[in-house]
Symmetry: C2
DNA sequence: CGGCATCCGGGAAGATACTG
DNA sequence: CAGTATCTTCCCGGATGCCG
């Protein structure tokens, strides 16, 4: 049953082109978005469901199986006492980040793009990596983000941005707000509500926000 | 009927993430491969079918409609006496080249990749752009390719590669062979058969071939 | 709750035949 | 040559249920 699916060639592009092979591997519905959700570290099945609005459990199971068979995703059992199973990208899977961001940056120019839709915490953090402008990024800045239970941080230094999971002890400011609210503030759609500043200096966030810009619309 | 399809939200990712929106626009089956075939210039319906092994006419029609609605593809009627209809990428559609190549380069590292499958002329030329190594590319070199009726050229100068449709009057060598044969020679799987050299200096092609390299397999 | 199997309805993709 | 019409097959999405 499982073997049939993997060896089933009928639905594959019979094409030596690398792009076609990429679509054989990760071109099915939801596959690249699963990879997106894993881009910032391992996640549990339920975490993935939460970050992927509308995916059904059986489809998510199929995708994870397919991505595992392709060598893009690995499942790992955390040691006791945690003993939970998590999914994570392989090294090679992690190398997909540039074109996954490239897709996002390109599509942000679409006139049909609707920024008011839901946005996962991972999407928010990845969008920072995508839309960062190194040129005006002088000085150092550290921002903490608290999205419900999940903590992230972003650090600007030497005209480079690094982001990741976890709190930053040295944050200039910690923002606690839903991802869409933070996105709206960073990209200038709506000012950050005062209550979103959990601790620290709001002005640091405002400087941070000037370092990101959405591309112009196409057409 | 057509409007229903475009406004039908049921199959869309309800996600503000740019990557998700990209997949709304060009994530359907065959869509990115249609874009690939248009990357080197306008094509007719039949040309696209020929370059896309296995696509059926109705699906190709649907994709072209969808890509046109998304603003990625434009249909144009050539002036008389030609009067044929062609499809071409918009400027924005053309900007997809980096991540389409990125997908290909990434997937070329897959252990499951099978280079012996069919390869279209456009795929062949795009793979050159993808796998070019600037560092060893000293000197100048111009190669012509004749794939059946279609002519292409590649030019190396100042450690940069340019490729496009049409013959090059100043080619050092002109290769006339099927795209897979040329690919096998460029990437070192099989030597170029002598009869593939239509005119010019075979050794020029051999030097050219050293400028391209497939990435190592992952895992 | 996490993960996976199963069934079902709708719809997209594939194959083929057909038309201007 | 450039699509359209039709039929079949299969994937996707939703619901349910099982089991640890």
């Amino acid at each position: 049953m499982k073997l049939e699916k993997i060896t089933n060639k009928s639905r594959r592009y019979e094409d030596a082109c690398g792009t076609a092979h990429a679509l054989d591997l990760i071109g099915e519905r939801w596959a690249m978005l699963v990879m997106r959700e894993l881009m910032l570290g391992p996640r549990r099945f339920g975490d993935l469901r939460a970050g992927l609005p509308g995916v059904s459990a059986n489809v998510l199971t199929q995708r994870l199986e397919g991505l595992e068979a392709a060598g893009v995703v690995r499942r790992r059992k955390l040691p006791p006492p945690a003993s939970v199973q998590v999914y994570e990208l392989t090294d090679w899977g992690l190398e997909a980040e540039p074109f996954i961001k490239g897709l996002g940056k390109w599509a942000a120019r679409s006139p049909l793009h609707d920024p008011s839709l839901p946005l996962s915490a991972v999407s928010m953090m990845l969008s920072l990596r995508t839309m960062f402008r190194p040129d005006p990024a002088i000085g150092s800045l550290t921002i903490g983000f608290q999205f419900g239970e999940e903590a992230f941080h972003a650090r600007v230094r030497d005209q480079a941005l690094t982001t990741g999971r976890g709190e930053a002890g040295d944050a200039d400011v910690v923002i606690a707000a839903p991802p869409p609210t933070v996105a709206a503030a960073v990209y200038g759609f709506a000012p950050l509500p005062p209550e979103a500043v959990a601790t620290g200096d709001r002005e640091a966030f405002d400087r941070f926000a000037t370092l990101f810009e959405l591309p112009d619309k196409a057409g």
